[in-house]
Amino acid sequence: MAFEAKNITKNQLVSEVQSLKNNGFRFVTMSCVDLGDSLDLLYHFELNMQLTHLRLTVPKGDTAPSISGVYFAALLIENETKDHFGVNFDGLVLDFGGHLYLEEEVQKFPFCKVSVSDTKSEGGAL
């Protein structure tokens, strides 16, 4: 069950994903991990019950290429990642503009590291 992901760059992403599709891989999903100044975008694919993973690291606030042109199924998770982490995807086939889940008044990206502070009582966290 060891997790190994192939590191790729933004320029390689779409061609690498297209190559996986040509080889019969099914797109499973994508995961996003907050690393502080940057984000890890992990792409999960499957062929014959075996998973393959790609890892793309992008600075926060940067744009990543969308793979929804290759796999239409990626459109929801890319929109979700935009909602939660603020990643802009270039070429997203159906862009909800950061409001797949969230209302327009939401100003923060809720899945980037959160902190809870108590502003009413002395000491103690909420």
């Binding site: 099914r26 999903t29 995961s31 797949l100």
Partner: protein, 357 residues
């Protein structure tokens, strides 16, 4: 002229708040666009304030209907990261309860589908059969739906010999009841009229659009995470149920046949259930990255977990099967009649609670 008709989130046949904007020309759907966010809870972020044991209860609440399998998958992730070997008996018990969950989920869905096309007697029959499974879960785990039997390192409860005998007896009764309603499903004019040829998803579409579970297998794709042999599945004979036609009827038949399959799996597991401990003591904190998958009633469930040896996990990412089944739904609806949309939408067994987490 095109007309846009809102479908859901409040709809007589939808138990889940799914909203679709349907672009119609006359009565024919030309395009369907989803709107989500009605029950989004952000459960994944709770990993930053709940410890690894508390997270078991959190993931069980992603979805009530398949809570047991969420907890099983999450525990597999943590156990994989910590190198914990779960006792064999615990593996068996986890899968027995998981298959019970699959049965009650499929029967719940089957009743809802029957209700959607106006066959209330079939709806009541399906839910009456489901009650037998719910009784087993209540008697063996103390609750009907969120049974909380999984914990990191094993399970919380054991099954006695008397309980195992009783489960086998109940399964026999469930099988008999299913045999009685099977002809309705396979021969009835109403069922076929509302499902055959409706919402067709081809093999190629299902694969390329990332469909999961009965929606994928209903299009003839042989894919079931239980084939990987996780948990106790490696100890039993198992072959995925598939149907070739890709329509609502094929997806219905996959789920109906999976009810018999689950009965068979539980019988096999009870027949081979080893003696021994049901849990091991867990020490330390997890570290590293892992991906684990399991097969929920609605399809493939994937967890990605990252831990750094701290009290709290760095990231828990949950990909639920309905999330994967929404893009295929958008491909199935164009070309169908407006009146068929509710049954087609239900044929994917949507769980928006899972989808939005």
């Amino acid at each position: 002229m095109a007309t846009i008709v809102p479908f859901g989130p409040q709809h007589p046949v939808l138990p889940e708040p799914l909203h679709l904007k349907l672009v119609l020309e006359d009565e024919i759907v030309k395009q369907a666009l989803p709107t989500l966010g009605y029950v989004h809870r952000g459960l994944e972020t709770l990993a930053s304030i709940k410890d690894i044991n508390q997270m078991v209860q959190v993931v069980e609440r992603v979805c009530g209907i398949c809570s047991c399998i969420h907890a099983h998958n999450y525990c597999m992730c943590i156990e994989g990261l910590m190198g914990i070997e779960v006792p064999q008996r615990a593996d068996f018990l986890r899968v027995i309860w998981s298959e019970m969950h699959r049965m009650h989920s499929h029967l719940l869905w089957f009743g809802l589908l029957a209700d959607a096309f106006g066959m209330e007697s079939l709806f009541m029959h399906a839910w009456r059969i489901r009650e037998k499974i719910m009784d087993v879960m209540e008697a063996t785990a103390g609750n009907r739906v969120i049974i909380s039997i999984n914990k990191v390192g094993g399970v919380r409860r054991d099954l006695s010999q008397d309980q195992l005998k009783w489960i086998l007896k109940v399964l026999g009764e469930v099988e008999e009841e299913l045999d009685k309603i099977k002809p309705v499903l396979t021969n009835d004019y109403t069922v076929k009229k509302r499902t055959v040829g409706k919402g067709v998803l081809t093999y190629q579409q299902a694969y390329e659009l990332g469909a999961a579970g009965p929606q994928l297998r209903g299009s003839g794709v042989v894919q079931d995470v239980r084939m990987t042999g996780y948990g106790a599945y490696k100890y039993i004979d198992f072959a995925p149920v598939t149907e070739p036609d890709g329509d609502s009827w094929a997806r219905t038949m996959v789920r109906f046949r999976e009810l018999y399959q689950s009965i068979d799996i539980v019988r096999q597991l009870i027949g081979k259930l080893p003696e021994g401990e049901i849990a091991v003591k867990v020490k330390g904190k997890p570290s590293g990255e892992i991906v684990c998958r399991s097969e929920q009633p609605r399809g493939e469930l994937l967890y990605y977990v990252k831990a750094t040896g701290e009290n709290f996990l760095d990231r828990v990412r949950i990909r639920t099967p309905t999330f994967a089944n929404v893009p295929p739904l958008l491909a199935m609806l164009p070309g169908c009649e407006m009146a068929d949309v509710p049954v087609i939408a239900l044929s994917i067994d949507p769980c928006i609670s899972c989808t939005e987490r």
